[in-house]
């Protein structure tokens, strides 16, 4: 564990990423304390430019709503959608991939055809169609993102299991009479954990980008303030009020960047043997 931290800390980008992410998490948790009023409420005159009134650091939008409050509450949506859809994608992808890789045969064939299907169809277009058909809400958004996210996880797990199952310690477990379930969960999966963790952090990042894009297209949950919605709403007045769209975009960029950096750091820390070239 200590080795892990030393290696992780050696990657400067990963440490910066972790700090940014912790700040975002803190803001999302503290949002109700920092901004007791709803982010939808009018609090000042409309189109108040940023950095003029210290009480409204990022200015106000077309309806005089506080942009800073929108950013804080928007972080909740981004993080929840990112984490929940990744968690569900893991719950689907890991067991399916493990069974396919371990047993092969029909399950494996079916899974591979399925992944080919999902690799081919344009995933963003599918997500749009799913959210539109099931009516925009945080549930349909999470559903749509999960549907397009579980496949790469299943593929990764399948590959890992496939290569691990012929190792000697697995053969020993088979000889010792352990059941398949025990072998998969106790012997194989723990050894496949590092690539899964790395992919999961990248999946959270892409889920946040997807949610923002859906909300930007007008498919966000109408009751929740989100970064993508803020950018979309500010779009029509971009020529006169740039800050409406600018700050939410920076928020998305920083959050997604932090997750990508952490993913790279985890990759270095969890696979010390694969020393990165060119450092």
């Amino acid at each position: 564990m200590r080795d892990f931290w030393t290696r992780f800390a050696r990657n400067r980008g990963a440490v910066i990423g972790l700090i940014i992410l912790l700040i975002v998490i803190a803001i999302s948790v503290l949002a109700p304390l920092l901004f007791p009023q709803s982010p939808w409420r009018m609090v000042q005159r409309p189109f108040l430019p940023p950095f003029e009134n210290p009480a409204f650091l990022f200015g106000t939008d077309t309806l005089g709503r506080n942009i800073a409050a929108g950013l804080a509450y928007g972080s909740q949506v981004s993080l929840i959608v990112g984490l929940v859809s990744t968690a569900v994608a893991l719950l689907i992808g890991v067991p399916l991939g493990a069974v396919a890789g371990y047993h092969g045969g029909l399950v494996d064939d079916a899974l591979m055809r399925f992944t080919e299907f999902f690799q081919t169809i344009p995933s963003f277009a599918l997500a749009i169609v799913l959210v539109a058909v099931f009516e925009p809400s945080i549930y349909s958004i999470i559903l749509a993102i999960t549907v397009v996210s579980w496949v790469p996880i299943a593929r990764l797990v399948r590959g890992e299991v496939l290569s691990l199952k012929s190792r000697e310690y697995v053969e020993a477990a088979v000889l010792a009479g352990q059941t398949n379930l025990v072998i998969i969960t106790r012997q194989i999966l723990p050894n496949a954990l590092s690539p899964i963790i790395v992919l999961a952090s990248l999946t959270v990042a892409s889920a946040i980008l997807l949610e923002a894009a859906l909300s930007f297209m007008g498919l966000g949950d109408p009751n929740l303030m989100s970064w993508g919605y803020m950018i979309g709403a500010g779009r029509t007045v971009i020529r006169t009020a740039w800050w409406l769209s600018f700050f939410p975009g920076i928020a998305i960029l920083l959050t997604v960047l932090s997750l990508n950096l952490i993913g790279e750091g985890l990759n270095d820390a969890l696979n010390p043997r694969l020393a990165r070239t060119g450092r």
Binding site: G13, R113, E116, F117, Q119, T120, I121, P122, S123, F124, A125, L126, I128, V129, L130, A132, V133, F134, E135, A205, L209, A212, A213, F216, M217, G218, L219, G228, I231, G232, R235, I238, R239, W242, S245, F246, P248, G249, I252, L253, V256, L257, N260, L261, T277, G278, R279
Partner: protein, 324 residues
């Protein structure tokens, strides 16, 4: 002969995926809010019972689901994707009308991103650890994490509003009737911002991939052999490393066709580019499900065709793949 067999199996795979997409589309239309007949009747502006029954019969909505699926599939086979009551036009006509603009945009973005991405990746790999490497790697990292639609908006703000260099709206200047070369030039000016925006994300992807791939190939034995032979570094990089490093990049580029379509939806929405992505946004605003699903089908079809072509070209270009 071997190639014919490969082509046949590849075609079969494409057809199976296509059938699966049609079936998915069919069930999604059924899952869309509202009774399809009632929705159509409402959009046609009349909702009495007789008209509803007529509509149900006309579209076979009174038949069992499997029969309906069959009717739908045979319709799609003749490129009949239903009728858009909002626009009073067949869906297929609406889409065909908008398709060229999307092909122009995605094609240009693809070429730009691949050329500049590979160039950036090569440059970074050849100067590992130097400031130019750091610059390219950092830029790629940032563009990889930036929402495309936000970059599009910021590009409008900077290049259209602030500098007034380039148009930010549509494919042609409204109210002019340029012909010939002047018209081409006008379209090209309108194409710059959307194509660059769409290309940026993919540029980042290809640059990262090229850099990693170059560094990996650079460690291989045949490169050491080339060095031992006394070849100049530039020659080794160009002739030995780059050629082998490009293979995974090109594979990835072929697989990104679906992503490119998704990016086109966002880019076209921001720049009011009259392609199928913008049409998708319009169909969302009007809750025009027939049109929405028709576009989804056509975009998937496009990706299938591109993937198949990539596979075939690949097979022709790289003899090793055939041997495997």
């Amino acid at each position: 002969m071997q190639f014919a067999a490969f082509f046949g199996s590849r075609l079969l795979k494409a057809v199976v995926i296509l059938l699966a997409i049609i079936a998915l589309n069919f069930f999604l239309i059924r899952a869309a809010p509202g009774d399809p007949a009632a929705v159509m009747a409402g959009e046609a502006g009349a909702a009495d019972q007789i008209f509803l029954t007529q509509l149900r019969e006309q579209f076979g909505l009174d038949k069992p689901v499997l029969t309906q699926l069959w009717i739908y599939m045979s319709g799609v086979a003749t490129f009949d994707l239903g009728f858009s009551y909002r626009q009073q036009m067949p869906v297929s006509e609406l889409i065909l009308d908008r398709l060229p603009a999307t092909l122009l945009l995605t094609g240009t973005a693809f070429v730009i991103s691949l050329a500049m991405g590979i160039a950036g990746g090569v440059l970074a790999a050849m100067r590992v650890g130097r400031w130019s490497d750091t610059l390219i790697t950092t830029a790629a990292l940032i563009f990889y994490a930036t929402p495309l639609f936000w970059i599009a908006l910021m590009a409008v703000l900077l290049f259209s509003v602030h500098f007034s260099w380039l148009p930010s709206f549509g494919i042609e200047t409204v109210g002019t009737d340029y012909t010939g070369f002047a018209r081409l030039l006008d379209i090209a000016r309108h194409l710059v911002l959307p194509a660059l925006t769409l290309g940026l994300f993919f540029m980042a992807v290809y640059a990262r991939m090229t850099r990693a791939s170059m560094l990996e190939v650079g460690q291989m034995d045949f490169v050491k052999t080339a060095k031992a032979k006394g070849l100049k570094n530039g020659v080794i990089q160009r002739r030995h490393v780059l050629r082998n490093a490009l293979l995974p990049v090109v594979t990835l580029a072929g697989l990104q066709a679906g992503q490119m379509v998704g990016g086109a939806v966002l880019t076209e929405t921001v720049f009011a580019w009259p392609g199928i992505g913008r049409l998708m946004y319009e169909s969302l605003l009007q809750r025009d499900y027939n049109l929405l699903l028709g576009i989804f089908f056509v975009s998937a079809l496009l990706v299938i065709v591109v993937n198949m072509l990539t596979d075939i070209i690949y097979r022709l270009v790289d003899p090793r793949i055939g041997a495997a």
